[in-house]
């Protein structure tokens, strides 16, 4: 087996034995159960008209997925932050990197293993939640697969950043910085939305720059776009848009997606270079 795949398989095996997946599944099932109750109340309440209910369910789903995107991103950071630094500190990596394996293969193997775990988790949660909402309310997002892919990409982006930081500093510092940067990126997106709504160029620029430096918010908005029913988008466009961080006016442009791909590549290359230089 290719050394990168060997490390990836090892990463997944360790995560499974650490009962990480079990914990994720348990939390997800509980949350999905609670959300089923909530969506049922929302769909079948008598205080809302059927039209209001049709609008409220997608909004609630977006809010739910926003919470989930946070869980996904924080989970990604939590599993990636210690993956290099903690193994250096404990000495586990000493016998691995002295084998005929490139450090690049170790790092990419870990990235691949963690990304696979994240993808599995994202796919399972999205499938469960979309299924629950469809079952309870009849609503299914217009592009559930694309929405899931962007939610995963958002988490994978933070995973990549955390892995890079893990080659530079202790796990706790890497985790804290990654989460802080993620929060700042989201906040920059909110500021940008306000800037667009209030037509303040400076605030708009903050949003744009934030989405370039850390594209998590850009990917979150891409996910939102594919979670919204087309009628909501048309309505919002007709109304000139609103200062709402839970609304996306358009799908991400090809250029932006190209930048996101470059961002992944740049940070992964930086992580490899940093790990290659690191003395153990």
């Amino acid at each position: 087996m290719n050394p990168t795949l060997t490390i990836a398989a090892l990463t997944i095996k360790e995560a499974v034995r650490r009962r990480l997946l079990l914990a994720f599944v348990a939390i997800t099932v509980v949350i999905a159960g609670l959300s089923a109750w909530g969506f049922d109340r929302l769909s079948n309440t008598h205080s809302l008209t059927s039209g209001e209910s049709h609008l409220a369910v997608p909004d609630a789903l977006i809010l739910f997925m926003f919470m989930f995107s946070f869980v996904l991103a924080l989970s990604a950071s939590a599993i990636a932050s210690p993956s290099i630094s903690a193994e250096i500190e404990s000495g586990v990596l000493m016998t691995v990197v002295t084998r005929p394996i490139r450090r690049m293969e170790v790092l990419l193997g870990k990235w691949l293993g963690l990304a696979a775990l994240l993808a599995g988790y994202a796919a399972a949660v999205c499938a469960l939640e979309f299924g629950v909402v469809r079952w309870v309310s009849g609503f299914l997002p217009p592009s559930p697969v694309l929405a899931s892919v962007y939610l995963f990409a958002e988490g994978a982006l933070l995973l990549t950043l955390s892995l890079f930081l893990s080659t530079l500093m202790p796990a706790i510092a890497a985790g804290v910085i990654a989460v802080a940067v993620f929060g700042a990126g989201w906040l920059a997106g909110v500021v940008g939305t306000l800037g667009t709504s209030l037509d303040i160029a400076g605030l708009r620029t903050v949003g744009h720059v934030g989405r370039l430096l850390l594209p998590t918010d850009g990917l979150w908005h891409a996910a939102i776009y594919y979670l919204q029913p087309p009628s909501v988008v048309s309505e919002q466009l007709a109304g000139g848009g609103r200062a709402n961080p839970f609304y996306a006016q358009a799908a991400p442009s090809s250029l932006y997606l190209l930048w996101v791909a470059c961002w992944f590549l740049i940070v992964l290359i930086a992580a490899v270079a940093s790990f290659e230089r690191r003395e153990l």
């Binding site: 060997t6 360790e14 034995r17 000495g91 016998t95 691995v96 005929p100 230089r277 003395e279």
Partner: protein, 342 residues
């Protein structure tokens, strides 16, 4: 015994520096020919370091270290705590980057990827994947060594048997004591019949039985032709198994040689002789430096092979030789002496 001096340490015999990548590490390409003047042949020494240095900011961890470890020998690397022993090991294995000098391991530049296939390493800080079983850890390393898949089970079983963990092979490493983890580390280092085995303080967590087992394993490695680089501060350990040793202090080798050379074994003999006249004393003087006291005579600087000649000469001169005791300095005494000389 050869005393390493600064002139020797800084002489590099015109050797070219190794190829390095942009990060300053050796080229990672498999089988890349060594650009050094040191030939990469089976006959090249297991380890050859010239002027190897490592500075951490203003702290000098390794200071122009020169040494050669021949193939097939058990080489003890001795020194007090903080002498730079582990740093040297890390440099030799490509875990850290030297700030000066050059070294070849099995004829290849430091950190050469293909050469790592022939090296077994037990780190001082031995930790393994706690959630894997011992057998799984060994299989993982078989895989990383690219050993044929059908050999994994035999390799793992043999390693477990050698280090006395066969009964615990299917238990998770996380349940192991520190000593058992060190045994597992030794088993990992033995996989794939390595040409060079680097053991960094291999008995630090072991009980006397375990230490005895490690010595037997080291002797077994020597018998099958492997080179063992034994990094230790336990002089008794070195005395038991090493063919040659280097004593390192403050990052530099203060003495290198066989134990006989290092200890001056046989160079000192204590005699109890009666009936010696003036000619007898003159004869003793021809064999070495003499000191007399308490009815005993100590002759220093005498090769062991010349002791019978000395006795014959004394008897021929009418001396009554009552006792002949070849003396040797303990490694500990010599070690302390070497360190105090600095």
């Amino acid at each position: 015994m050869s005393r390493t001096n600064s002139a020797e340490r800084t002489t590099i015999d015109g050797a070219e520096p190794s190829t390095t990548d942009a990060a300053g590490w050796p080229s990672d390409d498999a089988g890349s020919p060594s650009p050094s003047r040191f030939p990469r042949t089976p006959a090249s020494p297991a380890i050859h370091a010239v002027g190897l240095s490592k500075h951490f900011g203003g702290t000098i961890a390794v200071n122009s270290l020169s040494m050669t470890v021949e193939r097939g020998e058990v080489f003890g690397f001795l020194g007090p705590n903080g002498a730079g022993k582990t740093t040297v090991v890390k440099l030799l294995l490509g875990l850290a980057r030297p700030t000066g000098g050059e070294a070849l391991v099995l004829g290849a530049p430091l950190g050469d990827r293909e050469t790592r296939r022939q090296i077994g390493y037990l780190p001082e800080l031995f930790r393994f994947q706690a959630l894997l079983t011992a057998r799984e850890v060994l299989r993982l390393h078989c895989r990383l060594l690219a050993l044929p898949k059908d050999a994994w089970e035999d390799e793992a079983r043999s390693a477990l048997e050698t280090v006395g963990l066969l009964a615990r092979g299917d238990d998770r490493v996380g349940t192991f004591s520190k000593g058992m983890q060190q045994r597992l580390g030794l088993g990992v280092a033995l996989l794939g019949n390595p040409t060079l085995v680097v053991l960094d303080e291999p008995t630090s967590a072991l009980d006397p039985v375990g230490r005895h087992d490690v010595r037997e394993i080291i002797r077994g490695l020597r018998e099958r032709g492997s080179t063992v680089f034994l990094n230790t501060h336990l002089l008794e350990e070195a005395e038991h198994v090493c063919d040659r040793v280097a004593v390192i202090d403050k990052g530099t080798a203060v003495a290198t040689g066989s134990l006989d050379e290092l200890l001056g074994r046989g160079s000192r003999v204590r005699l109890k002789v009666g009936g010696l006249g003036e000619p007898g004393w003159r004869t003793l003087g021809r064999f070495g430096r003499c000191q007399a006291g308490d009815g005993w005579v100590v002759v220093e600087g005498l090769e062991p092979s010349r002791i019978p000649d000395l006795v014959d000469a004394l008897v021929a001169l009418g001396g009554r030789v009552e006792a002949v005791i070849p003396e040797q300095q303990s490694l500990e005494a010599r070690f302390l002496e070497l360190l105090s000389e600095r």
